[in-house]
């Protein structure tokens, strides 16, 4: 049973979304049903006007009577809210995807984390295995976007960053709104201009770190990989590729709540992150270095004398057995 056909105007889709939140709130706290409805009514009245508030009340009654409150509304809210897909790296099942879930859903997105299972480093080296994963990703994208009108955004890490550009290159049908890459192993000269100008992606955020060993290492074992997770991209597609360089970040240092809420989610909502403040390197603390080297030297000397002392107590040479063999 459908509440409404595809192609609802944004304002109506938002109204359905609000009603969904309202029914969930009532289900959680039925003793305050009237107060919750009053709160919703007042908020809608202020923000969207009397027409929407009163239409919402009518819809609520009809949905209630048809027992579609959750099912029907859910279908269309899912269809109309912007979709965000995420894709993890190798040798992990990506706890960060779970951490991200609450924040991204609260921000009004429909979140669809993808999990391709535990992918071993050795599998990454084999071209046919990478190819199979690229096809898998296309299939997942197709399934996830079946009921949405607009292209989804995507957040990818490590091996996930490899799959997104490769799939974009290979499958012309694939489209994204915003793309967030972190710990990227994509080649630095990836042709983002061509992708953006063909409307295959709107804007790309490359969240990358100066100490990302794996981003630097990937190109040594994977023919079409590169260190964009440590060095950035050469082609910034006329400013559509937003760089966010974190000099001290390693491969998986991007996964923390503040980064989701202050950088990634605003970017998905249309706001570029501020530039990372360039902090000058600290001068060498010679006093600390002197103490450190003194400790190391003392340890080496102590070890040397200790070994010498032990060798004196227990001479290394074992007693020789002398055989007096007389000539027969």
């Amino acid at each position: 049973m459908s509440v409404a056909g595809q192609g609802l105007p944004q304002a109506d889709a938002e109204l359905l979304s609000d009603l969904r939140d309202l029914t969930i709130a009532i289900q959680k706290d039925p003793g305050r049903k009237r107060l919750i409805i009053n709160g919703w009514y007042e908020k809608t009245l202020k923000e969207k006007g009397a027409g929407k508030a009163e239409l919402g009340m009518l819809l609520l009654n009809i949905l209630n009577a048809r027992e579609e409150r959750t099912q029907g509304v859910e279908i269309h809210v899912v269809a109309e809210r912007p979709l965000v897909i995420s894709l993890h790296g190798i040798r992990t099942r990506a706890e960060w995807q779970k951490e991200l879930s609450a924040s991204i859903t609260a921000a009004g997105f429909v979140y669809h984390p993808l999990d391709y299972g535990f992918f071993r480093a050795i599998q990454l080296v084999i071209p046919s295995m990478r190819e199979a994963k690229t096809k898998w990703f296309l299939d997942e994208w197709t399934a996830a976007t079946k009921s949405v009108r607009n292209p989804p955004s995507i957040i990818a890490h490590s091996m996930g960053t490899y799959l997104v550009p490769r799939a974009l290159e290979k499958y012309d049908e694939l489209r994204f709104d915003r793309v967030i890459l972190c710990g990227s192993i994509v080649n630095v000269d990836y042709p983002w201009s061509a992708i953006v100008s063909a409307d295959r992606a709107t804007r790309i955020l490359n969240d990358y770190g100066g100490r990302d060993f794996w981003a630097k290492a990937a190109e040594w074992v994977v023919n079409d990989a590169g260190p964009s997770g440590a060095k950035g991209f050469k082609d910034n597609a006329g400013g559509s590729v937003v760089k966010r360089y974190r000099p001290k970040f390693r491969h998986s240092d991007f996964f923390y709540q503040a980064n989701y809420e202050k950088t990634w989610i605003p970017f998905l909502q249309g706001t570029d992150p501020p530039e990372v403040l360039a902090v000058a390197g600290r001068p060498i603390n010679w006093k600390f270095q002197a103490v450190l080297w003194a400790i190391i030297l003392a340890f080496v000397l102590a070890s040397f004398f200790a070994i010498r002392h032990v060798r004196r107590i227990w001479p290394h040479d074992s007693p020789r057995v002398t055989l007096n063999v007389s000539n027969a």
């Binding site: 459908s2 409404a4 049903k33 409805i37 009053n38 009654n61 048809r66 579609e68």
Partner: protein, 117 residues
């Protein structure tokens, strides 16, 4: 009797014409009703999409055929007599049809369409 002639509206909003026609037909079949209850309509007019039914009812209000008011469902499942122009004006306790007061905090609030005075 509630108004049933929505011909001008169906010409203006042909997308809502099926819903408006069905509503008019339903009213004609229920001449004793004093208010239009969307819950009853939605159960009877199953062929009409929920969204279109709500839009059609809202259009009837906006065009002045009805006014949208609010009633509260009593614990016995019928609508209490009191009518409110705004759901926020519903008091914490209301009398049911036997003048027994009930707590409205958990009660369903129903947006109904009443004839304009």
């Amino acid at each position: 009797m509630l108004p049933t002639n929505f011909a001008t509206l169906t010409a203006e909003r042909p997308d809502l014409a099926p819903a408006l026609d069905e509503v008019a037909e339903w009213i004609r079949n229920h001449p004793s009703w004093e208010v239009l209850d969307p819950r009853e309509l939605s159960k009877s007019l199953r062929d009409i999409d929920t969204w279109h039914l709500a839009l059609a009812l809202r259009l009837l209000v906006e065009k002045g055929f009805f006014r949208q008011v609010y009633k509260v469902v009593t614990p016995s499942g019928v609508l209490a007599d009191d009518i409110f122009d705004d759901p926020r004006l519903i008091p914490d306790r209301l009398p049911d049809r036997w003048n027994q007061y009930f707590d409205t905090s958990e009660a369903d609030v129903v947006a109904v369409l009443a004839v304009r005075e």
